[in-house]
Structure formats: C-alpha cells, structure tokens
Amino acid sequence: MRTFLVLSVAMLVPTGAWAQEDTQELRLLKPAARQGFYVAGGLRNGALTISDENLGGLGFMTGFGFAARGGQMANDWIGFGLAINAGGGGNDVWGGGWGALSLELMLTPLPGEDFAIRGSVGVGGMGVARAKPEEETEKDPSGTAGALYTLGVSYDLFPWYEKDKYESGGFAFTGFLEGMLLPGDGLIAGGVMIGLEVTYWFGFNKNKLDIPPEAY
C-alpha cells in the first residue's frame, strides 16, 4: 500500500459506548398475536387425483387428513417449521393413503396481519389399492414415494387476543386452503385441501418486544 501522508489526528472520546463487536442493528418487534413458536393440529378435507403411467388417471378421490405442525416466526414476515401430514380417501374404484414429513415455510406478506402464504417440501409416500380387492390386476399400482410439495394460504383468527395489553401470542383458529403434489416413480398425485386447525402461538419474551416500560 502506498503511503502518501502521515497524518496526526487527535480526538476526545466520550465514555460509555460499546463498540467491540460488529453487531447488526437489533430491531425489537411490536407485540402481536402471531409471534414466536407455534404448534398446530387439525383436520383437512379435499380432493385428490392420481395418474398412473400404465393405467392413466384413476379419477378424483375425496377424503380426510390430519396434520401436526410446529415451528417459529423468525421475524414478522417469515417463519419456518416442520409438518407431518397424513390422510386417506378414495372413490368407487380406488382407495389410498398418504403421509409426509415436510419442511415448512410461511410468509406473511402483510406484517401485522394474520394472513399467510405457506408452502412445504418434504419426503412423502402414497399407497393405492383397489376398493374391491377382487378386481385387482397385476398392472395395478401399489404406491410411490418421493417429494411432496404443498402451497397454500391460511388465516389465523385470534378470538381472545387483546392488542392494547401488549400481549404476544395466543390461541388461534387457523383456516387454510392448499394444493399438494407428489410426483413419484410411476405415479403422480395432486390435489386441493381445505381445513381447520387449532394453533397456539407462544409469543415472544417481553425483552424482545418494543413495549413501554410500564408493560414490564
């Protein structure tokens, strides 16, 4: 490095400030209901279609499912979690069931609102069999495993949340609508689900919230 000048600068330094770590600005959040860790469980109902490489489409199937989810909102617009889904259904000819373990991502496009876009990707499997075993043939598919993808929207309703009490978290009823896709080996399944869950949001510790001193 070229040295052009030697400068001497004197400065008086005020005391009391810490400057050792390269710290990023820490932002405290306004208290809200949809904050912190969450656990949720609920039922879903929907329609599924399966396509087999040999037999073609197997028709629409309706059925029920359940999900258990858990995770955390990292900040006021994105959250991560784990989801376990399972369900079953059928039509006059076919019946089947599925299960998956997925990594879940939630986006809150309008921070402060309780509407979210959520999606997941995970490992899933699906089993298929004829509703009437006597009609089974050798070419019938038995099932598949692969990646399960879901994408949908949800809304959390907090009937007991009181905003003016600087609360964070609470119980919510969560309605959702989502699509799912499981492209497997020789079998592709896709469908739409609608459901209702009960979610508990643990909220943030008050030390992480932007609240007045009297709220502590």
Partner: protein, 904 residues
C-alpha cells in the same frame, strides 16, 4: 461518568512517501465514528490514557489495519481545597494493564472514513489517530464552614459497594463487557431514583450505597436484547447476581476484525470451520464442502473420492496438519474421519501449491486441527440419523487445555431394520464406523506453542451373500469382510520469538490397516507403519525478502498380502469389463517392505517492488522404493494491479509415484519410475467490496510418465514375464475456474463456482487420446445461506454437473450375445473406452437450522433435505445377464437428515 466530545483537531504533517506521483488533494474524513469503551477498572481507579494508533485506510475508506504506536496512562490528580495535589490511589499495581490499547485498537479498526483522494482518485493512506481517554470531573467539594460557628465537617464516608454482578452471554457463558446496567425505582412521591454502571472487561458491574428495597434492573448493550429484572437489596448485605444477556443473533459469522493471511499462492481456498458446518447437502461434514469448490469434480455417490482438476482420486494428497493420512472418508463417503469439532480450518490447493507439499500431481487438501484456548470447559453432543459424536474441552491452568472427541455410526442398526430377511444379502456384522481424537495444547510462554494430537478411525463391514453365484458363477464363498483402520499421533512445536522468525517442527507416528477378504477366494491384507517428520523455519530478513526452508521426511514399513485378480486400471472401463475370470488371480506377499521418502525444500517470498510478490521454491525428493531422486522447481507470482485487482500466475513441476501395486513384481513393474506433472495457471482476482470477491483462473496440466497398463513383456531373471505397467502414459488437463464469493454481509453468505475443463489421457502404446475416467466438462455449484432472526438459518446447494464418461456395451436385442464357453458366461461387446457419458447430474439440497439459546448452553436442530426435487440421477448402469439391456443405477432419491446438537 460521561463527557462530551470536543473538537476534532487535524494536524497534517509533511508528506513522506515513496514513489508517489500525485499529491493528496483530499484528506480522509471520519464518516462513521466508533466510540471506544472506557475500561471500567480505569474508571474505577480514575486512570486516564492516551493511545496513538497507526491506521491503514484503504481506498474505500475502511480500516484494514490498526496498530498501537504508543500509549501512556496517568492517574488522575486532585487538588484539594487546601491546595494539596494528590494522586488518587490505584488499586492495581500494573497501571498499564487497564485495556486501553485493546479498546482503542478495536474502536479504531471499526472507524469508517471518506477515503483520501489524489487528484480525484481514491487512494489508500496511513494515518496516526489518537484516542484520549479523559475522565469526567469529580463533583465539587461541599462549601467550607465558617470557623467557630459550625462543627467541623464530618470526614467523607467511604462508599460501600452493596450490589455487584457479572454479565455473561446466554448460550456461550462468555463475559460481556460494555453493558450499560441501570438500576432504578420509583419513590412514593413519584420521583425516579436511578444509577448507572458499565460492565468491565471482566463483565463485572457494581453499585454503591443502594438503599434497601426492591429495585428494577435494565441491562442494555448494542447487539443484545435488553434484559429486565427486579432485585431485592437488603441492608447490611451485598447482593450478588449473574445475568445472562442474549445476543441478537448467534450466527456463526459474528467475528471480530480478522486479518487475512498473506497470499502467496495462485489458488488457495481456506475454509473456516464456523462457515461451513451448515452447508446444505454436506450433512455438516466440513470435508464434503470441498466438493463445492472450483476445480473439484463431483464424486460418484458413495465413493468418497476427491477428484481435482482432472486427476485421479489417488493423485490428491490428504493431510491433517501436514501429516499424510491414508483416507479422508469413512466407507460410503458420507462422513470424513475427523469431525468438525476438532478442525479449525481447511486449506485446499487445486494446483500450483507450495514446495511444502509434494508427491502428488493433483491437488492438496490439508485440514488444520484447532488450537485449544484454555478459557473454560466446553463440549458438545451431536446426534443425527447417521451417527452420534461427543466433544469435551477442558482447560488445565492458564496455559494448557485438553480435548477428547469420539464418534460412532449406527448405519448398522438402520440397515438391519430395512434389509429384507429373505434378501440375497445379510449382514453378519453391519457396517459401522468409529473415530476418536485427543487434543492437547500447552503454551508455556508466548513464543512457545506445543500441540499433541492423537486420532484414529475404524470402519468394519461383513456381508454374507446367501447365493454367491448371483455375484459370480465362479464364487465359492459368500462371506465378505472389509475393514479399514488407522491412527496417528502427532506432536507439534511452534516457536515464534519475533515477527521475523518462526519455526514449526512436527513428528508423527501411526499405523494403517486395510483388510478385505471374500471367503478364501480373495484377500487383501495391508499393515503399514509410518513415521513422519516435518520441519519448517521461516526468516523475514526484510519486508521485501523472506526465506523459508524445511524438510519433509516419511518412513513407511509395510506388510502386504494380496490374492486378487488384476484390478482394472483407470481407462480400462472400471466395472464395465463384463464377467471377468475371477479364478485368474495373482498372489503376492511382502513383509517389512520399507519405503523412505525425504524431501528438503527451500522457498523465498520476494517483493521486488510494492504490489508484486514472487514465490520461487525448490523441492528435492528422494524415493527409496523406486531408487529415484526428483527435483521440483516452482514459481508463483501475484501482482496487485489496483487496490481491487490482483493478477496471478504460477508454474510448477511435481512428481508422484504410482499406486502401491505398480512397483510390485507380480501386479506391477519393479522398474517403474516416477510420474510427472507440470502445472500452469494464470488468473485474476477482483474485490469490488470487502465482502465480494471474483476469482478466475485458467489452468493447464501436462502429465507424462504416467503409469499405464501394457501388454509388453520383459525378461527378468532369465524368464519372460509380463511387464504389466510402464511409464508410457501421458495426459493433458485444461480449463477455466470461476469463483464468485459473497462473504457474510447483510445476513447472506455463499458462493457460485463454475469449472469448465477437459481431461484426457493417452495410454501406453496408444496414439489417440481418450477421455479421463473422471472428466466432467461442466461443474456448476451454487451455495448460499441466509441468517434470519431468532437464530434460524436457511441454506441451499444446487449443483449441475456433466455425467462421467463411461464405456458403452453394445446392448441391442437384435444382436446375439457372445458367450464365453469356458466360463459359461456372456461377454459384452465393448465400445470405445469412455466414448459415452452418463446423463447430466443436477440436484438441489436444502437445509434449515434452528438454535435455542439457554443461559449456559445452546441447543440446535436441523433438517436437511437432500435431493429436494427428487431428481433421478444416474450413477452408472447394470446389465442383464446376457447384456441385451442395461438398467440405470439410480442415485439416492429425496431423503431427510435430522440432527440435534447441544453445545456448552
């Protein structure tokens, strides 16, 4: 306690520079001020200081270096009402050790300036910058009383400290200085009474003369969440507390200013462990991250091979602290033999490496064992679907520390659960691996550093084929046993008496055992005892000249027994040789075979003028087994064209012996010689921002004297015997590597790498080149991770790689298969070697980490989805028994890896 900043005084002096052509037209100006912490003990003892720093300011206005030029401390003087000047007593006899230098250096390194300019062009400068630590004035004394009318004033009552605390960081338990602690309460009349203290270097804060009762506490510090609580102060007692304050983020990239190592190579990638343990798809294994660097090819799934710039897996050297080890991965290539907990960093050289290394024509991979710091007891427990590992580190006194670590897999449990009981293969002893490490560090004095490392690894697998004929019609036994284990004990001594001289001496001893048996039909038994000595001394004679010299000595004594068919060499189609005659076996047995390798070397670092660095080196290798001597001259040049631009180049000669069997009289040729490679590379680096770096390298490698199979014969001891191999092979490798790195900034870190290359070989006796077995034309990898609040981290890795070359078998239903009537097997019709390619490989891996912070420990969990979009990649082909059809060997589908970890 607080004082206001006064005027900034600027005192320019005469210019003193070398070779400047343009005068400074604009002085640097502070753009971002950083206040230095006033050390609490100094505040307590009323000590002031003046610290003069020398700051190097780059052309962007950032401080690249901050060194203390001088510092002086003074105790405060107080003039009493009677005019007596006294010096306040200091509690510490070592008045200079208040930490002023450190506080000023840290603050100075964080300053940001509007850069200096010379006729409109931003230029780097060096300035002196003074920090004055000035105490606020003491409160005025009480007014004097009139003599004779009032009683004499009572003597000052000494302050009584009745509330003391220590600030520690949650999760790490480390002391946190500089935390502003406020203690306050509201009185009944609504008045607020409060006091403030700042934690010192030791994390301690004190309050004096607090009235008994309940007080509220608020602790705040930059980068930490505020901490609130209430405490009860009792009369006559001292309230002692320990508070754990939580950082805003515990991401692994929170670091203080780091000094970059001086660069003397064309390509050296240094990976710090804290940066790479969460890369998606690598299962937390730091060694696997190397596969995502430029110049490194993707290895076949489960092979654990490291393929660098068109060289074979055995052509790349793998070291731990410069000590040669036989393998870097446990079987299956899922885990390296050393866990991340004991590694500090990994140096990777794809080519043109220093004379410190040798005997390998490919790349060099050297993992550095961490140097223990005796500050506190630390440990971790890591549990994943593959294995469990433990780590514990304990300080011994103030200058020493010891650590132990161990790991055990449970693939055996998983396989036993998933393999069908009626399958053709059962596990007599399921595959299992162990590894262990013991580390010890002792620094008896600042210039002496001793380290002892003991590490070992053990892999075992036993399979029983229920129907050996399904393996081969000639199989007589179905019992397969395979095991690999090794250990090394490494003692290292570093002596650094000054910045002009340093010396490193290491001695290691170890043993390798490789066992493979297939019933009584095949066996490979190897035991290798190894001693290695490394010595390196470096003298800095002047800023422009540094000389280093050393020796790399290695002694191997091996016992080996082999009963196997001749293994296929590179370029012989690998597994695609159809049904070989496995009764055509060769046998060799050697006991006590000694191989002594020694290499003195010398290397200079020359800076003929500012910006240009030349590193010539010379290495002389002696190879006892081959009875050969080789000389490797090497040269690397780096020139800083502009502050942001560096051009670089290198040329170097390296020698390598063949694989162990190549010199064996039964399997190979006892007269075989050394292989040779000349590395050429030229490139450029561009660093537009401190956190952004572009690196491009063009490389060419000329290989000759390669060990290559031959059908020739030779007369030995009066008999005509097959030559087996000779040094008639040659090859070329050329290509381009692009590397775009985004260091941690704005929560984002990652890199993009692209390698375009072509590797070919010409076998002995041939004239036309063919593709190298591991040639991969295009290798693109994108690695990125983003740190979110609440200690979440999300990462991806996406790779797209050309398929490996493969030798096609003609498989057409209309072509009648060829039968070997002697063996009763079908024989494939083989196409030209490596004339086909496997399909394109591409895969996305995703990983999410979450860390929970507790007072004294941290808990982390992660979920990794490998092959997130479930791509069906082809790793090879299997064939029908008559070779009329081939079936793709598919790689692993999408699968999750869950893991949890606790750290304290």
């Amino acid at each position: 306690m607080r004082s206001l900043p006064l005027l900034l005084l600027l005192l320019p002096t005469l210019a003193s520079a070398q070779g400047e052509e343009k005068p400074i037209t604009k002085l640097p100006k502070v753009k971002k001020n950083v206040e230095a912490i006033y050390p609490a003990p100094a505040l307590r003892d009323r000590v002031e200081a003046t610290v003069v720093l020398e700051l190097d300011i780059d052309a962007d206005g950032y401080v690249s270096a901050a060194d203390v030029v001088s510092s002086s401390t003074t105790a405060e003087t107080v003039t009493s009402s009677t005019g007596v000047v006294s010096v306040l007593p200091s509690r510490s006899s070592t008045i200079a050790n208040y930490g002023f230098d450190q506080a000023a250096t840290v603050a100075g390194s964080r300053l940001e300036f509007e850069p200096a300019e010379a006729e409109g062009e931003k230029v780097p400068v060096r300035i002196q910058y003074t920090f004055r630590f000035k105490l606020p004035p003491l409160p005025p004394p009480p007014p004097p009383t009139i003599a004779g009318t009032d009683a004499p004033p009572p003597p000052d009552r000494p302050k009584v400290m009745n509330f003391t605390g220590v600030m520690r960081a949650r999760g790490t338990r480390s002391l946190v200085p500089g935390v502003v602690v406020t203690i306050f309460r509201e009185s009944e009349d609504g008045q607020t009474e409060g006091y403030e203290a700042v934690s010192g270097d030791d994390g301690v804060f004190n309050f004096y003369d607090l009235e008994p009762g309940e007080w509220k506490i608020l602790a705040e510090a930059d980068g930490y969440f505020p901490f609130r609580t209430t405490e009860e102060v009792t009369a006559g007692q001292v309230t002692e507390v320990v508070y754990f304050i939580e950082k805003g983020t515990y991401n692994p990239y929170d670091v203080l200013v780091e000094a970059e190592r001086v660069k003397k190579e064309v390509n050296r990638r240094t990976l710090e462990i804290k940066e790479i343990t969460k890369i998606a798809g690598t299962l937390g294994d730091p060694i696997q991250v190397v596969e995502n660097l430029p110049g490194v090819a993707r290895s076949q799934q489960g092979s654990g091979q490291i393929i660098v710039r068109g060289s074979g897996p055995n052509d790349t050297g793998v070291f731990i602290n410069g000590v040669d080890i036989p393998l870097i991965y446990h079987f299956g290539g899922l885990r390296s033999v050393i866990p991340a907990d004991v590694i500090e960093s990994i140096d990777f050289f794809p080519g043109n490496y220093s004379v410190y290394y040798g005997r390998k024509t490919g790349g060099i991979f050297d993992a550095k064992i961490k140097r223990l710091k005796p500050d506190a007891v630390h440990g971790s427990l890591d549990v994943s679907l593959l294995d469990t590992s433990l780590y514990l580190e304990v300080p011994i006194g103030e200058n020493a520390a010891i650590a132990i670590a161990g790991r055990r897999s449970y693939i055996d449990l998983v396989l036993k659960a998933v393999l069908p009981e009626d399958g053709n293969v059962s596990l007599t002893s399921a595959p299992v691996y162990y590894d262990f490490q013991i580390l010890a560090n002792w620094r008896p004095a600042p210039s002496h550093d001793l380290q002892l490392t003991v590490l070992g690894s053990d892999d075992i697998i036993e399979l029983l084929f229920e129907n050996p004929a399904s393996f081969s019609t000639q199989s007589r036994s179905g019992n397969l046993n395979a095991g690999t284990n090794f250990f090394r004990a490494i003692a290292e001594y570093r002596y650094t008496p000054s910045s002009e001289f340093n010396n490193q001496l290491s001695f290691s001893a170890g043993q390798d055992n490789i066992n493979f048996t297939f019933g009584d039909q095949f066996r490979f038994l190897l035991q290798n005892n190894q001693l290695q000595l490394r010595e390196r001394a470096e003298w800095k004679f002047a800023d422009a000249f540094t000389l280093a010299g050393g020796i790399d000595g290695l002694m191997r004594i091996a016992d080996v027994e082999v009963l196997l068919p001749r293994p296929p060499s590179e370029g012989q189609g690998g597994q695609n040789v159809g049904n070989p005659d496995i009764d055509d076996v060769l046998f060799t047995k050697v006991e006590g075979q000694r191989n002594f390798l020694v290499a003195p070397y010398v290397e200079a670092t020359i800076v003929p003028f500012e910006g240009l660095t030349l590193v010539p080196g010379l290495r002389l290798d002696y190879w006892e087994l081959l009875d050969e001597v080789s000389l490797d001259p090497r040269l690397v040049a780096r020139y800083q064209l502009l502050p942001e631009w560096t051009v670089k180049g290198g040329i170097g000669l390296v020698h390598q012996d063949g694989e162990p069997q190549s010199a064996d009289p039964i399997f190979g040729n006892p007269d075989i010689g050394l292989q040779r490679a000349i590395h050429y590379s030229v490139g450029a680096e561009w660093t537009p921002e401190p956190y952004l770096k572009f690196d491009m390298v063009l490389f060419y490698k000329a290989l000759d004297n390669l060990v290559s199979p031959t059908n020739a014969t030779v007369v030995r001891d009066g008999k005509t015997v097959p030559l087996n191999v000779d040094n008639g092979g040659r090859g070329t490798v050329y290509g381009m590597e692009l590397f775009l790195e985004h260091k941690f900034n704005n929560n984002l870190r990652g890199w993009l790498t692209y390698t375009l290359s072509r590797a070919s070989r010409i076998d002995s006796g041939e004239t036309e080149p063919r593709l190298f077995d591991f040639d991969q034309t295009h290798i693109l990898a994108v690695v990125a991770s983003y740190v979110f609040p609440e200690n979440w981290e999300f990462g991806i890795r996406w790779r797209i790689v050309s398929g490996n070359p493969t030798t096609p078998f003609l498989t057409r239903p209309d072509v009648s298969p060829v039968v070997n009537t002697d063996l009763g097997t079908y024989v494939p019709i083989v196409g030209a070697v490596n004339s086909d390619r496997l399909p394109l490989f591409h895969q996305l891996d995703v990983r999410v980490d979450k860390t929970w912070i507790f007072d004294a420990w941290k808990f982390a969990a992660y979920l990794s989805l490998v092959n997130a979009y479930n791509r069906t990649n082809v790793e090879g082909f299997t064939f029908e028994f008559d070779y009329t059809r081939r079936n793709p060997q598919q790689g692993l589908p999408i699968y999750p890896i869950l893991g949890v970890r606790g750290d304290f």
